[in-house]
Amino acid sequence: MGERLQRLLDDTEIKADEIVAEAQRKADEMVSNAKAEAERRRNMAQRGSGIDELKREAEEKAKIEAEKSIEDYKKKANVLEKFPEDKMQEALELVLKEVLPE
């Protein structure tokens, strides 16, 4: 009985080690793939190719920034349009005073 249980424990230890080893293998592969992909993209960039995606990303980012900028200008224009009526009268009086001879 004791022996069988000990074997069960040993098997569990082995299985656990295998799980960890498999994870380590996957992790190493992930890092290695990432390094290879980074190297590949760097090389392509050096040759001036393969940057279409980066360009697209830059374009998308710029479009968002551009929209924000236009929105800001629209807001400013709206603020300008809401000047008070007395300012209009003041401006009108000034113009008439300047146009008409003293």
């Binding site: 249980l5 569990t12 990432a34 960039a45 300008l80 000047f83 300012k87 009108l92 000034l94």
Partner: protein, 207 residues
């Protein structure tokens, strides 16, 4: 029998602990790998951007720059529209004043003639205006000449036969037509606009 059950339970517990430890280790390994991958990607992107940065900046500058330009143009257009509102209102007010032919306007006509004659210099001046104003001037020519003599000395105002198509104001020339002074209300308004537009914009708060 009970001892045996206790032993099995203990082994099951131990097994659980071993597997839990393994899972914990696995999670740590994967998390660390993901972190490492992320670092590699970020570093690579940084390097690529430094390699092709100018090209990417050009893409961005083109799009954002155009939007900035459009925005500024829109703002400028709004500003111009607001300024135009003021000057259009002024033009309407001047038209109403001229059409009303009240004493204020006839006084203004006198001042415009006087100002024109002073600017041209000389003794004899020919004045024209729109039909309505010219009719008024014809009716009151003697008085006008008398009043202007008080200010400008020995001068003579004569009237052209043909009216001109203007809202109000006068066009004055010397006798030999070598000098002409366009003192129309519209002309004065246009001059004023180019001179004080910034001041008007300041009043409206649109600078």
């Amino acid at each position: 029998m009970e001892l045996e059950a206790q032993l099995i339970e203990k082994i099951v517990e131990k097994r659980k602990i071993i597997m839990a430890r393994a899972e914990e280790k696995t999670n740590k390994i994967m998390a660390s790998a993901e972190e490492e991958v992320e670092k590699i990607r970020a570093e690579s992107e940084k390097q690529i951007i430094s390699l092709v940065g100018s090209e990417l900046r050009a893409v961005s500058d083109r799009i954002v720059g155009r939007a900035e330009l459009d925005g500024r143009r829109m703002l400028m257009q709004t500003r111009q529209e607001l300024l135009s509102k003021v000057f259009e209102a002024a033009e309407r007010r001047l038209e109403e004043m001229a059409e009303g032919m009240n004493s204020d306007y006839t006084t203004i006509l006198m001042k415009l003639i006087s100002e024109s004659a002073s600017a041209i210099g000389g003794e004899v001046f020919f004045v024209t205006a729109n039909e309505r104003d010219l009719t008024y001037l014809k009716k009151n020519l003697k008085t006008i000449n008398r009043n202007l003599k008080k200010d400008l000395g020995d001068i003579t105002i004569k009237l052209e036969d043909d009216p001109i198509d203007i809202t109000g104001g006068v066009v004055v020339r010397n006798e030999d037509a070598t000098k002409t002074y366009y003192n129309t209300l519209k002309g004065r308004l246009d001059n004023v606009r180019s001179r004080i537009e910034a001041e008007v914009a300041q009043i409206l708060g649109v600078i």
